[in-house]
């Protein structure tokens, strides 16, 4: 249990938006579902803080990157379900390529892992 907490990574500012958009690419989902999906898909490393999940969802909704509607869940519970809008799909694509650029750049600075261990 303790181990798992140490391995958790604070999400970089702005990255949460990218993760939400990416998660919604697989279909409409409610907030709790999105949190579960991010945790599961990151192998339990990224744990979404609910305190920032809902502000992020509503921010994205306001920016019209995602749309929301009320639906009944399989447990017959009223839930607010989010899905990706056309603008959201476009934003996701550009954010993905930007992320790729940055991680490439950072990797470039850090250099190949092999060198590190040689030293």
């Amino acid at each position: 249990m303790k181990q798992r907490y140490q391995n958790r990574i604070e999400l970089l500012q702005g990255t949460l938006d990218l993760l939400i958009l990416q998660t919604l690419r697989w279909g409409a989902q409610h907030g709790y579902g999105i949190a579960l999906a991010i945790r599961a898909n990151s192998g339990d490393i990224l744990q979404v803080d609910t305190g920032s999940l809902y502000p992020a969802l509503h921010r994205l909704e306001r920016q019209k990157l995602i749309a929301a509607e009320w639906k009944l869940s399989e447990n017959n519970q009223r839930v607010r379900v989010y899905r990706l809008s056309a603008a959201g799909k476009k934003r996701l694509a550009s954010e993905r390529s930007r992320w790729a650029q940055i991680s490439q750049a950072i990797a470039g600075i850090l250099g190949p892992a092999g060198e590190e261990s040689e030293a």
Binding site: Y32, P55, I109
Partner: protein, 881 residues
């Protein structure tokens, strides 16, 4: 339109439901994993954190994010700016100079052009004017014509009022003052929609009969200043021009009559104009055009619709009264059009607003340059922010906020500078004792203007650096910070070129004005302004009869001539280049005007015999006036050469006759011709002008200016002459006391050039400083970027002189290209200004001098970085990289 937080309550409820459902789902999952229901619910809640806070924060996403972001950006900007006080203060000062210059000029334009009169719905009022045939536009109507207009134009105008202006003597408890008055029709105040501050205003029933209704309404400010705001002033008996008058009320605060420049201090009924110096039959004589007519349009009626109905009335008047109103074409104008039919004010305003905007642009380019340098230094910061997830638009916004905050600070400082500038301008003495109203005070329009200018400045200054420094961020990180200076450097060079061009244009305009002032001061005015004193007075203002007035002036001239040190003395109704003028459309015997009946009005003067001696205007032919020319002898006149040439070409005008349009009863015989001299303008061609003897035209010319030519310095004689006047008439008000030299500095005289030269020179000086800073900055930046290269060159054997040449070439290119563009721009701006100049708008002296001056100073500014580059130690430079 829905506000983002408009449906807040509904959203809050839904948000609550969303969070609750989240908690339920989380608890259910935990129960499924074997926790007890209470444990599961607690854990889920713990995991979520404070549900209230989460809801609040989420809710805020809808409402205040933009404001929060803005506040955060502003806070961040202020912090950043505080960290570099040097940069901040220079940038703020630079922008303050630019914004201050703009605010000053704008406050002037505002008070002259934009500020509406403090009356009800000023947009609905229109000033009437007319042409006769092809004649010039005239704004003065006769009272009978005004009355018919009022009766017939009611379909277009809900009311038409009229007024005429005068300067009168107001005596309160034996103390006299000279005030500007309006004699107004009874409906004057009701048409303007004004309510009294105290007592009552002029009533519609008043003013119909000559000499009836001896009442007066004071302006609010006159009441405040001269009566200390005493409410008991209502009902007080005073005297105006020696006639008993009762003060019945106070006009509303801020209202000074219909002129934007002059401040009316007392309002009397139209019929009371009998106490002023007006023809006694002006209420009934259709040929006596004295009153200005202003109307309020009926609701829903446009100016064009009113025009067409006025056209019909004009035709009717022409047919009914062909003697006086033939071919009368009546039109309506907005107040501004009426005040400025030639658009002179608009053109001058536009010119100077343009020049001020140019100064601001120069300031902007400088600050943009500073920001570019900073942006280079901050590339890494930006790259890291971007890596942390900041969106590019957010970064641009943050940088823009920074420059807008900077510009805003500059705007506040600029308002202070502008206030200083406009109070300096407002305190210029116009060489007149008329109650001139030059209130360049700041109103909301000036503040709004400054704010908008500051915001625009912030965006203009910040947009290029912001976009540049937020692009290519990945490159920065990859390359480890060598940056993208090359691209920015091209932009900076272009900015410096623009600065040189802009400041050259400003300086050339300033030079043209300065040269015009110099030329105007040297121009032969046709009279000798040195050693002459002017003192104006009007015996009618203390109730003197015509006989008393004639006697007074005769005695005055005798006594003053007898004073030691006086060479000659004379009186004249009009002083050259002054603010008053006499005009008439004379009928010349035996002269048929070409094509139409339009003879423009000529200016004339009413003078005493020694006038030409005092002014030193040479006689060309014939004789001057003598004391023998009086009311009982043949009426005589003297014309200038221009009038002689126009009406009696190749003839001797002496012995020919003409009649005054306003006084057709007397035939005037030309007895002399004098040399042309300048009366109303320094620049325009000299127009026909004539002189009439005072003794034959006293009635409407009781206001005269005593002119005294002295042997020694004229100022020293002033007290003695004033004492002489006081002995003869102790109560008489003497005004516009000045030397003739000072009298030349009026708005129509030299003052216009002086103000123009001063303003243009201030703007040009600012522009020059900004351009020098710009060129210096670019050249030294370029040199410092090339330190490495210079080091290599020197190591390879380049001499210091080669390096000097290299750096100079950089500066010289900027200066040369800037000069070429600036000359072209100045040429264009000169065309706009040419009507207000004495020298040609393409005056080569100005263009060459200013260009050489600017080039020299700009190249001198390059010398400092060039020297620094020359001293580069190759070893240090190479090691540094």
């Amino acid at each position: 339109m829905k506000f983002p937080w408009g449906d807040g309550e509904q959203r809050k409820k839904e948000l609550n439901e969303e969070i609750v459902s989240h908690l339920q789902m989380a608890a259910r999952d935990r129960e499924a994993r074997g926790e007890s229901p209470t444990q599961a619910a607690d854990a889920a809640r713990r995991e979520l954190g404070n549900a209230g806070v989460v809801q609040d924060v989420t809710h805020d996403q809808w409402a205040w994010t933009w404001l929060e972001d803005l506040l955060q950006d502003v806070r961040h900007s202020l912090r950043t700016l505080r960290k570099s006080p040097g940069f901040t203060s220079i940038a703020v000062l630079t922008l303050a100079l630019g914004i201050g210059a703009n605010t000053t000029i704008f406050s002037m334009v505002d008070s002259i052009v934009l500020r509406p009169l403090p009356i009800k719905d000023p947009d609905q009022t229109a000033v009437l004017a007319f042409h006769k045939g092809n004649g010039p536009l005239q704004f003065r109507f006769s009272v009978p014509d005004y009355q018919e207009l009022g009766d017939q134009a009611s379909a277009s105008f809900s009311g038409l009022m009229c007024y005429l202006s005068g300067m009168d003597g107001l005596a309160v408890n034996g103390k006299s003052d000279r005030i500007m008055t309006n004699y107004v029709s009874g409906n004057y105040f009701s048409v303007l929609g004004l309510k009294p501050a105290l007592g009552r205003l002029i009533l519609p029933s008043e003013g119909e009969t000559l000499g009836a209704d001896p009442v007066m309404v004071l302006s609010y400010s006159y009441w405040q200043v001269h009566f200390g705001g005493d409410p008991n002033v209502v009902g007080r008996a005073v005297s105006v021009n020696g006639h008993p008058i009762t003060i019945v009320g106070i006009a509303p605060a801020g209202f000074h009559g219909m002129s934007p420049f002059l401040s009316v201090q007392g309002f009397l009924p139209l019929g009371m104009a009998s106490i002023g110096v007006y023809p006694k039959d002006f209420m009934v004589n259709r040929g006596e055009r004295l009153v200005i007519v202003t109307g309020r349009l009926q609701p829903g009626i446009t100016l064009q619709q009113a025009q067409s109905s006025l056209g019909v009335i004009g035709q009717r008047l022409s047919q009914t009264y062909p003697n006086t109103d033939e071919a009368m074409n009546i039109q309506a104008f907005l107040r501004l059009q009426a005040a400025d039919p030639q658009h002179t004010t608009l053109v001058i305003s536009g010119l100077f607003l343009g020049l001020a905007a140019l100064v601001l642009l120069l300031a902007c380019t400088n600050v943009a340059n500073f920001l570019l340098v900073r942006a280079t230094a901050r590339e890494r910061e930006m790259a890291i922010r971007a890596a942390l997830g900041a969106v590019r638009s957010r970064l641009i916004r943050q940088l823009l906020t920074e420059s807008v905050v900077l510009a805003f600070l500059g705007g506040v400082a600029g308002l202070l500078l502008g206030y200083f500038g406009s109070s300096t301008l407002g305190s210029i003495h116009l060489q007149t004792d008329l109650p001139v109203q030059f209130d360049f005070g700041f109103d909301w329009r000036v503040f709004t203007y400054a704010l908008v200018v500051a915001l625009l400045t912030g965006v203009i200054v910040g947009i290029a650096p912001a976009i540049r420094s937020s692009s290519g961020l990945a490159t920065v990180l990859r390359e480890g910070g060598r940056g993208i200076a090359g691209g920015k450097y091209r932009l900076r060079r272009a900015l410096a070129v623009a600065q040189v061009a802009g400041s050259l244009m400003l300086l050339i305009i300033a030079g043209l004005y300065a040269r015009s002032l110099m030329e105007a001061q040297r121009i032969d005015l046709g009279f000798d302004s040195s050693h002459v004193l002017n003192l104006s007075m009007d015996p009618n203002q203390i109730g003197n009869s015509e006989a008393q007035g004639r006697e007074f002036y005769k005695n005055l001239l005798d006594r003053v001539r007898a004073l030691p040190g006086v060479e000659s003395a004379s009186i004249a109704a009009v002083v050259p280049l002054g603010y008053l003028s006499n005009a008439d459309t004379p009928v010349i015997d035996g002269y048929e005007p070409p094509t139409s009946q339009s003879v423009p009005p000529f200016l004339y003067n009413v003078i005493s015999p020694d006038y030409f001696e005092t002014m030193r205007i040479p006689m060309v032919r014939g004789r001057t006036f003598t004391s023998a020319d009086d009311a009982n002898t043949q009426y005589v006149g003297i014309v200038n050469e221009a009038m002689s040439k126009q009406f009696w070409p190749n003839q001797d005008p002496i012995g020919h006759h003409f009649k005054l349009g306003s006084e057709p009863g007397h035939s005037i015989e030309v007895v002399g011709v004098v040399k042309d001299s300048r009366f109303d303008s320094i620049t325009s061609p000299i127009a026909p002008f004539f002189y009439l003897p005072f003794a034959q035209h006293y009635t409407f010319n009781s206001l005269e200016t005593l002119q005294v030519r002295t042997y020694a310095a004229p100022e020293a004689m002033m007290p003695e002459i004033q004492r002489t006047i006081a002995t003869l008439s102790p109560d008489l008000l003497v005004f516009d006391v000045e030397t003739m030299r000072q009298g030349l500095y009026t708005l129509g005289g030299l003052l216009g050039f002086q103000i123009g030269a001063g303003l243009a020179a201030s703007l040009g000086g600012l522009g020059l400083i900004l351009a020098i800073v710009g060129v210096y900055g670019v050249v030294s930046f370029a040199a410092s970027q090339r330190t490495h290269e210079i080091g290599i060159r020197m190591a390879l054997g380049a001499s210091p002189a080669d390096v000097l040449k290299m750096v100079f070439r950089e500066g010289a290119m900027i200066v040369l290209v800037g000069l070429a563009i600036g000359l072209a721009a100045a040429f264009a701006a000169g065309r706009v200004a040419r009507n207000f100049l004495v020298v040609s708008a393409t005056d080569p002296v100005t263009y060459v001098t200013v260009s050489v001056l600017l080039a020299t100073i700009a190249l001198a500014a390059c010398y400092i970085p060039a020297r620094r580059a020359m001293r580069v130690d190759p070893m240090v430079a190479l090691r540094y990289e």
